[in-house]
Symmetry: C2
Amino acid sequence: MKQLIKIGPIFTDLYELTMAQCYFAENINDEAAFSLFVRGYPENRSYYVCAGLEEALFEILDYTFSDQDLSYLEKTGLFTVDFLNHLNRFRFTGTIRAMPEGSLFFADEPVMEVSAPIIESQLLETFLINIVGFSSLIATKAARCVYAAGGRNVVDFSLRRDQGVDAGLKAARSSYIAGFAATSNVMAGKLYDIPVSGTMAHSFVSIYENEYDAFKAYSKNYPTKTVLLIDTHDTIEGAQNAAKIGIEMKKRGESLVGVRLDSGDMAVLSREVREILDDAGLEKTEIFASSGFDEYKIAHVIGQNAAIDAFGVGTKLGVSADAPFLDMVYKLVHFGNRNITKKSPGKAYLAGEKQVFRKTGPNGKYTGDIIGIKEESIEKATPLLETVVKNGNIVIEPPGIEAVRAYFAENFARLPDACKDIDSPAPYPVSVSHNLLNIQKHHV
Amino acid sequence: MKQLIKIGPIFTDLYELTMAQCYFAENINDEAAFSLFVRGYPENRSYYVCAGLEEALFEILDYTFSDQDLSYLEKTGLFTVDFLNHLNRFRFTGTIRAMPEGSLFFADEPVMEVSAPIIESQLLETFLINIVGFSSLIATKAARCVYAAGGRNVVDFSLRRDQGVDAGLKAARSSYIAGFAATSNVMAGKLYDIPVSGTMAHSFVSIYENEYDAFKAYSKNYPTKTVLLIDTHDTIEGAQNAAKIGIEMKKRGESLVGVRLDSGDMAVLSREVREILDDAGLEKTEIFASSGFDEYKIAHVIGQNAAIDAFGVGTKLGVSADAPFLDMVYKLVHFGNRNITKKSPGKAYLAGEKQVFRKTGPNGKYTGDIIGIKEESIEKATPLLETVVKNGNIVIEPPGIEAVRAYFAENFARLPDACKDIDSPAPYPVSVSHNLLNIQKHHV
């Protein structure tokens, strides 16, 4: 399990700790189960892609308060010596059931359930929503981009516009899980062992007296990896200069990998550039496009018959611009011997520990999910939540990013195409089992 | 200067390094100046708040490639031994001019200019846009929330929905600079020494047999810090239970700090709750409100005469939901002895190293800015970019977060009120000096 930093348990909202102290003082530490799920969908969504589990486990399995943390908490004046001593001994001893990373999940379905003495299970709330919520948000956005690209490569160019350092890393990891081909983010490449790729910036072209010289210098240094950015001065002239370079490279037994368009009318320009390259015998030189792409713009230019082979997707992927957050929540569903929900307007949820069951039709496509109670089994349906941590110990090791990526691809292939539409996706059928409905009547 | 992690120079787009290697191989390392600025405004914005400088300097002043970084770069197969040796000796030796953190800035104005041999100055691009862009995005959003709240306290509750760990920290820091009273984020409190605050979660109320018992337990443990969440079952009954607790606390010589509303019609409920509290003699007990707040919802409920004393602002602040990114760019403006821009459609910018001058009217309000050339001085206008790093060494130490917060408050008070409107702000006048216009004609 790889992560840039060890975060630790004070990466949390203050109230998680003040409530915990209250439980501690009142001698309340019954087993409490929480469900992690998303309420509803942002516009144009009807599925989610689960990501972030590996990183979450990495944290939770080694959840300890440092001396520095404890002395900071002491300084706030909010905590007793007894409670700080309790935190000093703190570790997570509970059970975590989760869908594997790369799973598809749907509104109201728990993607994870945590069961532990309440001080432990409550404390994970802020951190789990942050980690799993954001990773899943980006994996979902990325899946939409890959789907829109219809087999063309998509590369993560988001780093500069991501919301901070960690977001940059998670955007790269989550988009790779969802089928992106590579990332421009060197640190993510190193940390997660995912392919890195890049082209050149306008500044590179600008510092040379003319564009041809810039292209020539670059291609000399990268005989097998050159992608030329051709819009600094004029895209058509840029394509002509690139064609000259491509011909020269060919003569040297090298080959020009591609050119990149970064402005203007992408559909029109890409066809014109394709013709220039083809006329120069550079049929294998690919056309990359960047600048404001997301699933909508990808679909739009493909609909206009753009001659684009691959897309660099930046800002709008990295912040999930059309839906920059998920309404992910972590709700108490069972405490001691009671199932629990609440009645606040618009905030009710399903009481009780749960399992999610998925049905598959004869053609291999998913036909619908049933949210049931943890203990039941439903005929011809596969339970999705699996126990990954038991008594505080890991029982299923994270499978690694390539396996997660393959698992997602397999899952996504089984999702009905109508649910994948980027503009008006069909709802995916999710129902609630009789057993789960039954216990809703009896909760306190 | 405080930061959770040392990021290091491979937190960058691959092309920054491949271009650098090309410059290195071609013996190109002339002085290059880059401007960091934002193109245009998202909807409803007409100013920006500058943040992130301290963290950026913390990184840049100690920018070195670790052995691990270098061996990763070697493994990519893209880099020569000579260039990797060069990176091994890399440090930043250039000059950085920047507006102080907490400054107001406007579209097209450089908030920072970096001048250094091109390998060094180019390499900072990705990192600077990420750090300064996101911090400024949130500081700007936070300033809007504080303005809408009209003197009422606003607290950062965003951590769980922020885009990753680093975003959680930066959201807390940036919103505090822009006038937030506190954050729920314990780690940010520790790291940046900013006030932390919190209330309780619905789960706390749910685990007790009844709400009154939950409130009683909490207030017993926090005689001077209790804020009761009153909407788990029914807000009005919750207020009545809170009033009982408040009366009991009063009898013990304690006081109930507040109650929190988290659902329902905030304006109506807050007035009803105010009446219940006042009737119980709890005039000093404050009403906090949370749930989906941002500047628009704050203004809306205040417009409906809500009896709310303070706002918890979460998700929509932490991701700047209505405008989740800035079009911040880092553009080459000078290289060797040439001023530089580019002509790509929609992507032209002002060539040349610059200074931003701000004019103040007789009433102390800002009347407009002039973007000029670095060397000029403009009568009765204050230059804003100051040299913070020279020859790779810091020459102005970051002043600390309290000073930055005070500086912002002073600045914001001078911004014309019409520019602060959250729905249809007046544009702030920014012009370009004759000197700067003149050099635009001569760039290559």
